[in-house]
Symmetry: C2
Subunit: 249 residues, 2 copies
Amino acid sequence: MSPDTDLLPAEELHTRLQSIGDQFYHHRHPFHLLMHEGKLTRGQLQAWALNRFYYQSRIPIKDSIILSRSCDPEFRRAWRKRLVDHDGNHPGDGGIERWLRLAEATGLSRYRVVHNREILPGVRYAVDAYLDLVSHGTLLEAVSSSLTELFSARLIALRMDRLRKHYPWLESGLAYFQARLTQAPEDVSFTLDWVTQHATTRAEQELVMDALRRKCDILWAQLDAIYYAYVEPGWPPPGAYLVEEAGAA
Amino acid sequence: MSPDTDLLPAEELHTRLQSIGDQFYHHRHPFHLLMHEGKLTRGQLQAWALNRFYYQSRIPIKDSIILSRSCDPEFRRAWRKRLVDHDGNHPGDGGIERWLRLAEATGLSRYRVVHNREILPGVRYAVDAYLDLVSHGTLLEAVSSSLTELFSARLIALRMDRLRKHYPWLESGLAYFQARLTQAPEDVSFTLDWVTQHATTRAEQELVMDALRRKCDILWAQLDAIYYAYVEPGWPPPGAYLVEEAGAA
């Protein structure tokens, strides 16, 4: 094995990134496991959709920050696709709008979701930590934090299958996931090439891996906050969204 | 006249913005007057194109910062057009590339321009003050700073006419200005509507006017630095671009 100062071959870097995902990505989170087993109530899915909207609403802000940190028109041309994916090309289009339709399919009003007033502080802090990472880390770290897209398509494919099976009344809200099935692999292919090329020392490769790990933590921490508030022990803090129905499914 | 605390009617706000442009926009700067009279040397035009490239190269960064400060997908959809205008849709496209072609038409090598190594400190500080304004002012001020586009189409039309007349060898570099003739009026129409709608108190209207004034200062200060270094007294600081030919045209 090479000492910790040697540049890793690209394949080894990619293997290690994959291994970070295997260990730290939120596909293993107990909240997702309950979701995929059909064990969440409609109210718990509402709490998830409402809280996760804060993350969704910050994605184009995160991507604009990354755009603002690059001096390379070619990088910006590629990265700007993400703004189109999330904000769409006209009213009613784009990932943010599609997530709102998912929230509506759970039975929430769009108004209640869009203002981010009832989200959990723990979700807010995690998402804000993401904006902080892309604002104050190096551009290499900012870009690397999007590498979780390496793992998202598989999770989303599984999730769509299980949501359809266990919560068929959500069907009208699944367009968000359908779009991400093709968007995320396109994006991550660019990102993986870019970070592989721009991490030219072992120290930089370590920054890439650490940024991916930190992003996994950010996703995980959101589900922790949701699990604690709405599953077990089930104590949403004052001001947070209150589920109107009782008990588990 | 209404006291300084009353909300101005939209027409009066627009009249005052126009008046700020009449007084403070850089169409009156001595360097532009010399340019339009055909009194600049090729070397002075090179110094202008090289220095002004720093401004051009920061425009998509400025616009990405503004994008990152808005939580409104509709605003971001409209503003994002500016990234497309400046970065283009493929290599060789976009405003930054067109400015490089203008610099090449003056006889500079693209390599020399693109690295921003020989620009004047005064130009750098002015442009960086623009990034500071859009980063740290309110979103209303950040957006308002683009209102100089109210005045740019007229200046550009005049400039194209005079460049063709006095410096016909620049013809192959004029595509940048040709594109801005249609882009700027489209952009400023959105911006003017947006600031008119979002400045809902007189204090906010004053912020709008002040931001436009500050942006005019930023443009003016760049030409001051260029004039002092390359026209009169003509002392470029150490490290700055040195004109290779002598004297005036």
